[in-house]
Symmetry: C3
Subunit: 306 residues, 3 copies
Amino acid sequence: MARKDLLDLASLDRSEIDHLLEQAVPFKEVFTRSVKKVPALKGKSVLMLFYEPSTRTHSSFEVAAKRLSADVTNFDVAHSSVVKGESVRETVETLQAMRTDYIVVRHGRSGLPAMIASQTKASVVNAGDGAHAHPTQGLLDAFTLKEVFPEPEGRRVLIVGDILHSRVARSTSKVLKKLGVEVAYLGPGSLLPRTCPLGIPRFTDYEEAMRWKPDVVYLLRVQMERQEAQFFPSLREYHRVYGMTHERLKRIEDAGIWLMHPGPVNRGVELCDQAMDYSRSLINTQVENGIAVRMAVLYWLKPREG
Amino acid sequence: MARKDLLDLASLDRSEIDHLLEQAVPFKEVFTRSVKKVPALKGKSVLMLFYEPSTRTHSSFEVAAKRLSADVTNFDVAHSSVVKGESVRETVETLQAMRTDYIVVRHGRSGLPAMIASQTKASVVNAGDGAHAHPTQGLLDAFTLKEVFPEPEGRRVLIVGDILHSRVARSTSKVLKKLGVEVAYLGPGSLLPRTCPLGIPRFTDYEEAMRWKPDVVYLLRVQMERQEAQFFPSLREYHRVYGMTHERLKRIEDAGIWLMHPGPVNRGVELCDQAMDYSRSLINTQVENGIAVRMAVLYWLKPREG
Amino acid sequence: MARKDLLDLASLDRSEIDHLLEQAVPFKEVFTRSVKKVPALKGKSVLMLFYEPSTRTHSSFEVAAKRLSADVTNFDVAHSSVVKGESVRETVETLQAMRTDYIVVRHGRSGLPAMIASQTKASVVNAGDGAHAHPTQGLLDAFTLKEVFPEPEGRRVLIVGDILHSRVARSTSKVLKKLGVEVAYLGPGSLLPRTCPLGIPRFTDYEEAMRWKPDVVYLLRVQMERQEAQFFPSLREYHRVYGMTHERLKRIEDAGIWLMHPGPVNRGVELCDQAMDYSRSLINTQVENGIAVRMAVLYWLKPREG
């Protein structure tokens, strides 16, 4: 049964997640064809509403929509002085009046996509809201993991970095847990959540975390533009304590551990240069899968009639 | 008989206005379908040339063009250092050489779209030029009024605000007068035109204006970015003297008066919060009708051959 | 035989250049039709990657791609803080993972499009890289010249301005020489290349250059934003010494000499006002031909499979 919106992953049950991940498979298969496009959403309109700039996520959704043959319009809030002074509510009423079919929204405030969804008949896709959720990131990570481990139950993913403020950590943990994957967190004590409703082990020490024997190390991006850097003595220090250094890379290679990162990578911070060429890196695969998964999401959602 | 350009409403006769408003009806009907798109301008190209940013008008024209199946290209003058130094004439020669079919232009200088139209075979649509004209705004306002009053002759519309510098007031007044609607102005004496060729009553006092018994109160946007604010002691004072306050809202509700505004609204300035939910507000309807009317305009115009 | 990328003109042989110029003819013919579009690249995707803003070149490629029925996505590096911090290599890996068919790239650094091309299966078109090359400009200039002189062998083109830093001069000279056209340079000694491998005559004096009897005077744009201006005492002085002044215009008119410029023109610097209406000016024709030639290039290139 289709839903109207995708706001977070908490509300999706296992069968819905399975359905989305299965649906992404034929969409990804389309990318190997000469014409990487299907007519599934021909005549439908997708409006991009990005209050925070994000070249990659924006492009990924835009390419996904176009590969479904939808029309994409950018509602350019970032460069508009007028709309900045306008409350989001007025913007949403405008979009509702424009009768777009899908709205892809990114905003720094948690819960804003849900508010928008409640006021419009369009299907709303949350492309990241504050520290709350980034559901398509969670889905694409799950999809990527399943390509490597078709039976992911019991596999172990160690997420490293600023867990506390990360919507990626939140959404990816949620979907992985639903698939029966074991998740653990590694980061500075001040950047780990104090309580973990999902019963997720928390480590502050790299060695200790490795003894947990992860199948995948998932490095979060250090959000330098959000001044997270203040939590670390220095970026160099971050790299030394939590980064994928050259030494650690050799160790995970020997152990056959996979590497993930949501991108864009801060080289020399989360990853050493050599990690870019690591044979078990899934970073670029995540980008490709992001488009397939977003196609599956847009195709699955059903805007309200009328 | 089709025209090449839509530059202002003064040159359109009554039958042309009627034709455009009638043509917008089936286009609006398309919005209630699952696929909100018609192949009317398939293969045609629309170039957006916005020297002033305007997220809403830009999006409205872009969506209108795409619903007609046209291709839309943004000629990004706002972010281009090169083109800023270039005279408009060179830009127009470039556009003419690119052989686009339609040019939608917004510029701070009155008469600039007409100058462009004279130099290109493309159909030019004025999307607002200085204090001169905003013809599609006038048409969408007329269309919206006719939905409420199918026989608009003799109906009364009170336009409130900075009439003197408003291209919206100018274009909307013109088209309403052509439809036989009575128009009056209300605003500070310094912001009313000194003479009114169309014989439009002018009020400076709200009470006096209400005794004129309008069917519609049309609030203009206070253009804060254009420093119109200097004409008022304060925005609070503007709201108190000319805004739709909570008290006035109750009075127009009792009198069954409709509310219009071209958007985006400055809440607390032109309108109190409660006015956003006013049952006789046509503000969101204006947005929706804007797309239908712009589709009708693009469909009606005929670029010159060759 | 098709190539994967168009990076510069040095690597194209005469028959390839002839093929591209011939292919542009039917594409230009399309512009005279009511529907200026062909289905040649239907379902293919073109990604615009402009690290330097360029409204004209960007629009020209975008219109060209759309007239081939391709889908165009703008990878908005210019306004993205995230991507600025990211190395180009990561961006390219992202684009490769997105599996776009064509990448049109402009960058201030010479050789960057070649680096990108080596790392992606997409066809890469260089839309200008530093002082290195601007191959589609060279091709459109050659196409424009051939419209005037169908047998261009032995014709003489005088290129005027800052030759040393100009990728236009470089690419246009290269393609013209391959067509058997004679090329000469005119400019301040400090802005002429010290050695000319192609055996191109260099002049510093206008009179002397005119005695060489050119068929075309090709004025380069003074790149004021790149502070080239520092090389001249003043723009006025530049106009006096190397510009197309009113007097010189009369002389080239008498001699039947054609005028070219890559645009956008700095009026009063490279050209006097009257030159804008010069009957033998090819400036606007260059713009139109730019789209046709870019269509031919995109149509000719073949992305690698898979």
